[in-house]
């Protein structure tokens, strides 16, 4: 039992922004008020900010992709974050080892992270890596947007079959939701091509990108999964691509869900470029921001770029090949049979680069102008940069002065190609809590997370920030305080004290079981046929709960 006393609690879900005590019992927030302090570990949080544990909605923290990146980049692992001792050694510059990922997250108050792209064929590997990340809770989203069976069901216009297939895969793979990456484009890459608009057709199948996206939204809503479909749009990283993003968002028109969005568009920064080429590339956020703010069925995350080293890694095979050609950097490609692809290319974001500077600004425009209830902080780790710089992003959003200072570092081109210089808004602490806690929890459908109401997971963070005396001009102090939590409590255990790891526990891996809502028999013949072309036997396909360290099944029925 832990009592966090007298802290300044900010909990937008429960409308709290005031000094109060928090009582933790059996790993949950309790509303009991008869508390014997002698039986509790008491944390005095007087004059400190107390919030729920943060949630990273989109970070490539596990799976074949990041691990291939590790194997390709030994130069990333010369930075020592923690020597071996009571806890594990932790190393990595922007690519981190599994132990380092868990430790670094909780040090800055994050207690949950979502691996957003797992090829189903490789998902057992994803779970093994997730199981090696200490402390935090996690989940994985299998990839659907380039799967031959998905094309087949969409070509047959059979949403019921598609929904059955989705629930079959989620159960088999212990996945949490539906990820879509460059729908149709990755399949086209198998023929050396790509998909450039939502009207492009998939080779060999008579379906368009538009059909794939709307089909998957409908199937996802038929299942009413906790999370909506989670899309990485076509044309990522191309000047002028904001139009494709807007076209994609409009596909959600008329489809509604009372609890949440029906379309989550991820790392939007990479898909919000204007211009016709690299010479006139600029910010294309304006229309996107308008559309997201007026829609109640679309959410986004930022995809902030951090100046410095990064490693791009996506299921977007053709994009990664183009990036390899552009940068002449080393390149990993992994074509996954009849299902998806993968690419990895290292990259350095330089403030001296006009394009990189504009990218940096685009994400901040999204962070400042999109309603915090519909927006989440992300770097698309490790694509935009390391997740351990989230405090930097939060502070930039909180402090105009910090932004101005950073803009001086960036290329002048930003001044005319982006809107950021004219934005005076400073986000409040409550906004930041929304963009890191309540919004990702609601978008993901994780109702025990992102708030501190009764019964919520006891993921609690105490920061050395006094909201009553908050001054955004003191950005260095703010960033430091957000980087290094005074306390992080995970599921009722103190895991961080004064910015140092204090406890090592294993978190849960959540997955969604929607099989009660579907009938597997209707796709039986299709599966039988499909497994003729797979190289893993159907009986040996999938991940069993007993192989996982701490699986948590979330049944929708």
């Amino acid at each position: 039992m832990i009592l966090v006393k007298n802290g300044h609690v900010i909990d937008p879900v429960n409308g709290i922004n005031e000094e109060m005590d928090l009582f933790i019992k059996n790993g949950r927030i309790s509303s009991e008020f008869k508390i014997n302090e002698k039986e509790c570990e008491v944390i005095d949080a007087k004059g400190k900010l107390v919030v729920a544990g943060a949630i990273d909605i989109h970070a490539h923290i596990a799976a074949r992709k990041i691990n291939s990146g590790r194997a390709m980049r030994p130069e990333e692992f010369r930075r020592v974050r923690q020597k071996t001792g009571k806890f594990r050694a932790a190393v990595g510059r922007t690519l981190l080892t599994a132990p380092a990922i868990g430790y670094e997250y909780v040090k800055m108050g994050y207690t949950t992270a979502i691996e957003p792209a797992t090829p189903s064929l490789y998902t057992l590997h994803t779970h093994e890596e997730l199981d090696s990340i200490p402390i935090i809770d996690k989940a994985a989203l299998p990839l659907f947007g380039n799967w031959h069976l998905v094309f087949k069901f969409i070509a047959e216009n059979d949403i019921e079959k598609l929904a059955s297939f989705i629930s079959w895969v989620l159960e088999k793979m212990k996945g949490y939701g539906v990820k879509v990456v460059n729908p149709g484009g990755v399949e086209a890459w198998m023929y050396g091509s790509n998909a450039h608009s939502i009207d492009d057709l998939v080779p060999y199948y008579d379906v368009s990108v538009r059909d794939i996206i709307t089909g998957l939204i409908k199937a996802n809503e038929m299942l009413d999964l906790p999370h909506s479909i989670h899309i990485h749009c076509n044309n990522l990283g191309e000047p002028g691509n904001y139009e494709t993003t807007v076209d994609t968002m409009k596909l959600a028109n008329g489809i509604r869900n009372n609890r949440r969005q029906v379309l989550h568009v991820t790392h939007v920064q990479f898909n919000a470029f204007s211009g016709s080429g690299w010479k006139d590339m600029g910010s294309g956020t304006e229309e996107i921001i308008k559309l997201v703010n007026k829609s109640d069925n679309i959410t986004i995350d930022m995809g902030q770029v951090i100046f410095g080293h990064a490693t791009t890694m996506t299921a977007d095979g053709p994009f990664q090949f183009d990036l390899h050609k552009l940068l002449k950097n080393k390149w990993i490609n992994l074509d996954v049979e009849l299902e998806t692809g993968t690419g990895v290319v290292p990259l350095i974001y330089r403030p001296s680069s006009p394009v990189h500077s504009v990218m940096w600004a685009i994400a901040l425009e999204l962070g400042l102008l999109v309603n915090p209830d519909k927006n989440v902080i992300s770097t698309d780790y490790p694509n935009g940069g390391p997740f351990d710089r989230y405090p930097y992003i939060m502070t930039l959003l909180l402090s105009r002065k910090y932004r101005e200072k950073e803009m001086e570092r960036a290329h002048k081109y930003l001044q005319r190609a982006a809107n950021l210089p004219s934005i005076d808004i400073e986000r409040t602490l409550e906004d930041i809590v929304k963009m890191t806690r309540s919004s990702p929890a609601r978008i993901l459908g994780m109702h025990n997370k992102g708030h501190l109401g009764e019964g919520a997971d006891a993921d609690v963070v105490v920061y050395d920030i006094n909201p009553a005396e908050f001054n955004p001009d003191k950005y260095r102090e703010i960033e430091k305080a957000l980087s290094s939590a005074l306390f992080t409590i995970k599921g009722g255990t103190v895991v961080v004290k004064n910015g140092k790891i204090a406890g090592d526990i294993w978190g849960r891996t959540m997955w969604v079981d929607a099989t009660l809502r579907t009938t597997a028999e209707i796709i039986e013949p299709d599966l039988e046929e499909y497994f003729n072309y797979y190289t893993v036997n159907r009986e040996n396909y999938g991940v069993e709960e007993r192989w996982m360290r701490r699986a948590e099944r979330i049944e929708v029925g």
């Binding site: 074949r64 990041i66 691990n67 590790r70 194997a71 390709m72 980049r73 030994p74 990333e76 692992f77 020592v80 020597k83 071996t84 001792g85 594990r88 050694a89 190393v91 990595g92 690519l95 080892t97 599994a98 132990p99 064929l121 490789y122 998902t123 057992l124 590997h125 093994e128 890596e129 090696s132 031959h148 890459w189 198998m190 023929y191 050396g192 060999y204 090949f321 390899h324 050609k325 080393k330 390149w331 990993i332 490609n333 992994l334 074509d335 996954v336 049979e337 009849l338 990895v344 290319v345 003729n532 072309y533 797979y534 190289t535 893993v536 036997n537 009986e539 040996n540 069993e544 192989w547």
Partner: protein, 419 residues
Amino acid sequence: MENVTCTFCGAVCDDLYFDGDEFRTKDFCPLGEAKFSRKKRIEYPTIDGKKVSYEEAVERAAEILHNSKRPLLFGWSSTVNEAIRLGVILAEKVRGIYDQCASVCHAPSVLAMIEEGIASGSLGQIKNRTDLAIFWGCNPVEAHPRHPTRYSVMARGLLTKGRADRKVVVVDVRKTVSALMASHFIQVKPGTDYLVFSAMRALMEGYEDAVPEEVGGVRKEKLIEFVEMIKSAKYITILFGLGIAHTRGHDRNVENVIKLVQLINRYTRCILQPMRGHFNVVGAGEVAAWECGFEWAVDFSRGYPRFAPSEFTGVEALLRKDCDAALIVASDPAAHFPRAAVEQLKRIPVIQIDPFPNMTTLLSKVVIPCAISGIEAEGTAYRMDGVPIRVKKVVESEYWSDEEILEKMLEKVLKLRED
């Protein structure tokens, strides 16, 4: 039992029949059949040849590792990921070296990947799409006997329906039995692969004038024909083996074929696939990568991982006399390391964990028998393309699994650290 997974080679076939009561097999290749047959076992744990309990053997092993200055923890390619992960943690906690069989196998290919990445794909890409398969310096008929039928040469796929839809080329220094299944055989001189790849890259880009009349014993016209064949194919897979990685040029050969594949992808589609040997040699690298950042040749002496293949592979650490004890798991370095490295292995205390007596047993101080991974113990293994496959327990056994032994050993070591 149906759908049994075979734990011999990197092809990890999962469509086999095995009767564990009578040790009857169906559909296995000769290698798998041998794997799933009854063999002489190490019967009980020993210290200096004397029978001891599992507990005593594990305790002594932990003491040796704890008391040495830089123990070498080597092997891992024939066990499951669960055991490998404990091995990496054990290496970290005793501040020793983690190295695995890749360092006498495809490690040069991973070194090449550090320089250039790799354009690769899962084996189903060969089966379903590949219309030109090139086997370079590998001999699947002898090393991965079911690879040609299951995945590459004869496999029936979605877009390429079988052998008739595929051209098959074998490139090697000698005409192997695998060359018999090819439509074309190209013989290169030993140690010239690097030069041939450079010439092919130049020809592909139209720099014919820079290429001499003969490269690596192959006439220029023949290379031009080969390059044209590649350019006109739709989806090419180049499968390569130790014929490239174990000869003069090592990783640089592989680096050059990776560059060739990068170039081919500007004209058509092409992937590259190393033919990995042991059933879980890929896992031995992948698990280490996520636990400590590096796949092999990792030294933890300073309390954090450092990577140096020129100093910390099993062979280098032994040649340099840079380890003073060794834990050998699921491997037989006394049979497979060069003589000079085995000499050092004979001088230091060796702990062995293995189901079968082998040459390393003959020079080990502590011998701990274990259940056979994938027959008597279950766990996860990674096929040569990295696809994870759960290998099964199909026979009951009294032996402790690698995972149990290592878990106990790690517990002991942690206790010794506290004292």
